[in-house]
Symmetry: C2
Subunit: 150 residues, 2 copies
């Protein structure tokens, strides 16, 4: 395979996992910076035109994995590939952020849910969406429905 290497690091207001909002209906509106290493700055050319980016990053402070376990968004356990749990066979994470502006190798973004200092593995442009009316959201929709019941 390959050996993952950081292309940069996240600057985020979160220094502990407890501070990161989790659970049903959570919104991530915090701003942060994707601080790309100077050697990779040419890879950012033309990224400014995209409003949203996929950020692929490493859960570098997570160890081991659980194939089946709890989620902060539900009181019932689920398979790890049906959740965003950090305890995964490959500790790879994915976050969609809004690109606010680029300042050389620094991407100012909204929507960070990473810890400060998190290594970034890749950035990709968000090119298209699945329309909301075509999405089924499985246990997540069920947990939301249960929460709304009196």
């Amino acid at each position: 395979m390959f050996t993952p290497k950081p292309i940069g690091y996240v600057r985020s207001p979160y220094t502990s996992t407890k501070a990161i909002p989790k659970g049903l209906g959570v919104k991530h509106d915090e701003e942060g910076v994707l601080d790309i290493l100077p050697e990779f700055e040419p890879g950012l050319i033309d990224i400014d035109g995209f409003s949203h980016l996929f950020v692929i990053w490493a859960f570098d402070r997570s160890e081991g994995f659980d194939l089946f376990g709890p989620s902060p968004a539900d009181n019932r356990p689920h398979g790890v590939f049906a959740t965003r749990s950090p305890r995964r066979p490959n500790p790879i994470a994915l976050t969609v952020v809004e690109l606010l502006r680029r300042d050389g190798p620094k991407l100012h973004v909204r929507g960070v849910d990473m810890l400060d200092g998190t290594p970034i593995l890749d950035i990709k442009p968000y090119m298209s969406s699945i329309p909301a009316d075509k999405l089924r959201r499985g246990w997540l929709a069920e947990a939301e429905a249960r929460k709304q019941q009196p």
Copy 2:
């Protein structure tokens, strides 16, 4: 960091990169199978309820990277982080697929753009979309506009 390991392999109709549709406005409607290793099958519990999945996989037949280069969707070069090029500092790929059905450890999906035998690193549920009217698509939108001009 961590050492990536396959959680399974893609079964796809594509055995050569030339066969994979590329370029502007391309649609990936081909069906394939995400063939998850039996040891990871418990991680798939409750995935069936989601209509769409993020598949994170390795460009295992790509070597090296170009920070700035051409894209099949445009005749102008762009920074690698503004494209889906396989020649990236970390050869990690992301594809959104539609989940058609699960047959034990086999996920039958629509929308594969991977080569047959591609190692899968992770699967995550697609939980929400950025509304199309909030997306800006940079050079991609510009290239589409140029193509439509007479």
